[in-house]
C-alpha cells in the first residue's frame, strides 16, 4: 500500500487562515490502511483544524468527506456539488489523490495534510515497513522475493555491506533486519545458495524516478 503520515498540524493550519469553509477529504484505500487518511483520521483532523483556527481568531466551518478512492476521477465526482461553497480543501490522501482533487476542482486550492512517504506493508499493528521503492526495474526474481533496493539502507545489489550486526540487524538501523542476511537465509533454505554467486551488473536507473515525469501507455486500453 501507499503509506503517508500527517504533516504537522500547525503547517496545515497556517495555509488555512482566513478561509471560512474548508473540506477535509480522506481516502478509504491505502492511506486508511496506514491510519493516515481514512474516515477515522478525517474525523480527527477536522475538529483539530477547526479548534486550531478558532484559537487563532479564524472561525471556520469544516466539512468532511471520505471517498472510496481519491486517485480515480470517477470516485471524486460526488464532491462536485459541494465544492462551490468551499474555500479550500485539505486532502489526506496520497499525493496522487491530492493532485487528482486539485486538477478536478481547480481553482479551489487543495492542500496536502499528509506527507506521502513510500510503498509499505503492515508488519504488525501500528508498524509499517517499506517494501518497494517503485524503482522501475524489479529484481525480486533474483533476490528470492526480498527487495534490496527498498530494504537495504545502501540499496546494494551484490550482497551485504559487511556491517550486519551480530543479531542480524542493519548497521544503519538496528530496528530492521539486514535484508541481505534474509536473502541469504532464504536462498539457503531453498538450496539455491549458488544463485547468489552471480554478479548483478551495473543497474540501469533510467526507468526509476529520475529524469522527469513518467507516463505509461497501453495502446490496447486507450480510447
Amino acid at each position: 500500500m501507499i503509506i503517508a503520515e500527517w504533516k504537522p498540524i500547525a503547517e496545515i493550519v497556517a495555509r488555512l487562515e482566513g478561509c471560512r469553509n474548508i473540506l477535509v477529504a480522506g481516502c478509504a484505500t491505502c492511506v486508511a490502511e496506514c491510519a493516515a487518511g481514512g474516515e477515522r483520521e478525517v474525523e480527527s483532523l477536522a475538529p483539530l483544524i477547526q479548534m486550531a483556527l478558532a484559537q487563532r481568531g479564524y472561525p471556520v466551518e469544516v466539512l468532511t468527506a471520505t471517498l472510496e478512492r481519491q486517485c480515480e476521477p470517477e470516485f471524486i465526482e460526488p464532491l462536485f456539488p459541494k465544492m462551490e461553497t468551499v474555500d479550500a480543501v485539505v486532502s489526506i490522501a496520497c499525493g496522487i489523490g491530492i493532485q487528482t482533487l486539485g486538477d478536478r476542482f481547480d481553482p479551489v486550492p487543495v492542500y496536502p495534510g499528509v506527507n506521502t512517504t513510500s510503498l509499505a506493508v503492515r508488519e504488525q499493528p501500528g508498524r509499517w515497513s517499506v517494501r518497494c521503492e517503485a524503482c522501475g526495474s524489479c529484481v525480486l526474481g533474483d533476490t528470492f522475493g526480498l527487495c534490496p533496493i527498498a530494504r537495504c539502507a545502501k540499496s546494494l545489489l551484490n550482497g551485504p555491506c559487511g556491517g550486519t550486526r551480530e543479531n542480524g540487524t542493519c548497521e544503519v538501523n538496528s530496528d530492521v533486519d539486514c535484508i541481505w542476511l534474509k536473502i541469504y537465509e532464504r536462498a539457503m533454505a531453498r538450496g539455491k545458495l549458488e544463485a547468489l554467486l552471480g554478479i548483478q551488473p551495473t543497474r540501469n536507473w533510467s526507468n526509476s524516478r529520475h529524469g522527469g515525469q513518467k507516463v505509461m501507455i497501453r495502446e490496447d486500453l486507450r480510447p
Binding site: L23, R40, E43, S44, L48, M51, A65, K82
Partner: protein
C-alpha cells in the same frame, strides 16, 4: 462585567468499573465547577480520537476518561489501549497548539463518588487555568459524503 462561562465537562467512564447510576447522579450534583455529562461506555477502550476531538470542538472544556486499573480490564488490555489513545490525542492537541490538559485519563480501583469528584475538580482546574474558553458554539463539523 463579563462573566466567564462555566466549563463544560464530559466524563466517559467504563461501565464495568462499578459506578452505579446513583453514584453517577451524585457526581453530577457534587461537581461544582460546571455541568458534567457522564457517559457510560462498555469499556474505556471505546474511546477514540474522533469522538474526543469532536467533543472538544463542539464546546467541551474537559474530556476525562475513567478507566479501570491496569490488569483489571475485563477485556484484558482495553484500559491500556485507552491510555495510549489519550496520550495520542494529547499529542495531536499539542501539535495543533491547543492545551492538551483538556483531555485526561484517570485510573481507579473503583469509581466512588468522592474520588471522581476530586479527580474532575483537579483536572478542570488544570485545564481551565491554561485554556481560554470556550470555542464558538455556532461552528460545526459535518460529514457530506
Amino acid at each position: 462585567m463579563h462573566e466567564t462561562p462555566a466549563p463544560r465537562i464530559v466524563v466517559l467512564y467504563c461501565s464495568r468499573g462499578g459506578m452505579s447510576a446513583t453514584e453517577a447522579k451524585s457526581v453530577y450534583e457534587q461537581v461544582s465547577d460546571g455541568p458534567v455529562h457522564l457517559v457510560a461506555m462498555p469499556c474505556s477502550s471505546k474511546v477514540d480520537a474522533p469522538h474526543v476531538l469532536k467533543l472538544l470542538s463542539k464546546g467541551a472544556d474537559l474530556v476525562l476518561v475513567l478507566a479501570c486499573p491496569e490488569g483489571a480490564c475485563q477485556f484484558m488490555v482495553g484500559n491500556v489501549r485507552a491510555e495510549k489513545r489519550i496520550r495520542h490525542i494529547q499529542q495531536l492537541l499539542l501539535s495543533a497548539g491547543i492545551e492538551n490538559k483538556r483531555v485526561g485519563l484517570v485510573r481507579g480501583d473503583s469509581f466512588h463518588t468522592q474520588a471522581i469528584v476530586e479527580q474532575v475538580t483537579a483536572h478542570v482546574k488544570a485545564a481551565i487555568e491554561s485554556t481560554p474558553r470556550s470555542l464558538p458554539e455556532s461552528l460545526s463539523v459535518s460529514p457530506i459524503a
